[in-house]
Symmetry: C2
């Protein structure tokens, strides 16, 4: 195999297994040893490709987590159709797509934010990038809705975007505490109420 390809493959393998373990057990309690055991490689390989666990964490956030949020919550926002309906279907569709495992372990991004964001500025920057991308997509959609007269022109796009993101991330954490999805139903009910008032 070509060297560059092999190298990329190994890095991707480490990245994917890391994400899984971080999601399952948290960042701090996942050791480099544990990660490399799941890859069937050794520590030597790890420190050949990454200079530290911190660097790995940042790459997991920038590559895996960012893509996950993008695919699930951002890309759908750029579809056509009624803006408010698109908002509701994106949020509710995402919730419905979650497995039990996903619900029990919450949002990977939110987990990172609350576990390690206040420890290293580099983590903050990587995580902020995801939020900003999400926020921009929401603002863009809200603006389109205003131009199509399906959204009240008086509301602040940014404020609504922040409130939508906050509530979604918040409920992903709170759901961890419960053993059923009723809390998500209530969240969706509250969201629908919120979206309703955005009408002109």
């Amino acid at each position: 195999m070509e060297q560059k390809q092999k190298s990329e493959l190994t890095k991707t393998l480490i990245l994917n297994e890391s994400f899984k373990l971080f999601y399952k057990n948290g960042f701090k309690t996942t050791s480099v040893d544990k990660i490399m055991k799941t890859t069937n490689l050794t520590k030597g390989a790890f420190y050949h490709h990454y200079k530290s666990k911190k660097e790995l964490g940042i790459e997991v956030i920038s590559a895996i987590v960012q893509k996950r949020v993008y695919d699930g919550m951002i890309r759908p926002l750029y579809q056509g159709g009624d803006a408010l309906h698109l908002l509701e279907s994106t949020f509710s569709g995402r919730l419905k797509s979650f497995s039990l495992y996903d619900k029990q372990h919450g949002c990977p991004m939110n987990n990172f934010i609350n576990e390690i964001a206040d420890e290293e500025e580099a983590y903050q920057i990587a995580l902020k990038r995801i939020i900003e991308e999400w926020k921009s997509a929401l603002i863009h959609l809200l603006e389109r809705g205003k131009q199509e007269n399906s959204i009240n022109k008086d509301i602040s796009n940014t404020a609504v975007a922040i409130y939508l993101i906050s509530a979604f991330e918040g409920v992903r954490g709170i759901r961890k505490l419960y053993n059923d999805d009723l809390i998500l139903d209530h969240y969706m009910c509250g969201l629908t109420l919120y979206l309703n008032q955005l009408k002109p």
Copy 2:
């Protein structure tokens, strides 16, 4: 000094110092050694009063964290006056009360939820108790508002309560990623919009 009093004092000391360190550095990365160093006591004292770090964690949640949320976000809801105004002033007042340190480190409860809630059912139960107490207070206030005709009778109290809590906890995490309070202003703007629509 009386033995029981002394014992209580020591437990409280350990509890308070633990909370501070958990809040500052996270639960997992705060060792029993570090805690006992700040109390000027030793490991022997710790394991005399607590059977494990897990037991300590649960007591910190049940005692310190619960009281903190109660004082800041729950007790104010039982005041008199217009329900919607009380909601807005409670949420905005709490945000304004936060020090820079508080903003940078987020919500202690939310940090626990996202760092360790999915690891032990005992943590879930202790944390859920706080959410439930908060939810009840919100529902109670919303119901009062309905009876006083200051809140629309058609809305679901539970749904609104969950959405309010979710958004607040969410933004406490997101604020960690930013270096200014603009994000909180946007959140407050989004919240005001939400509360407005609850009018009859």
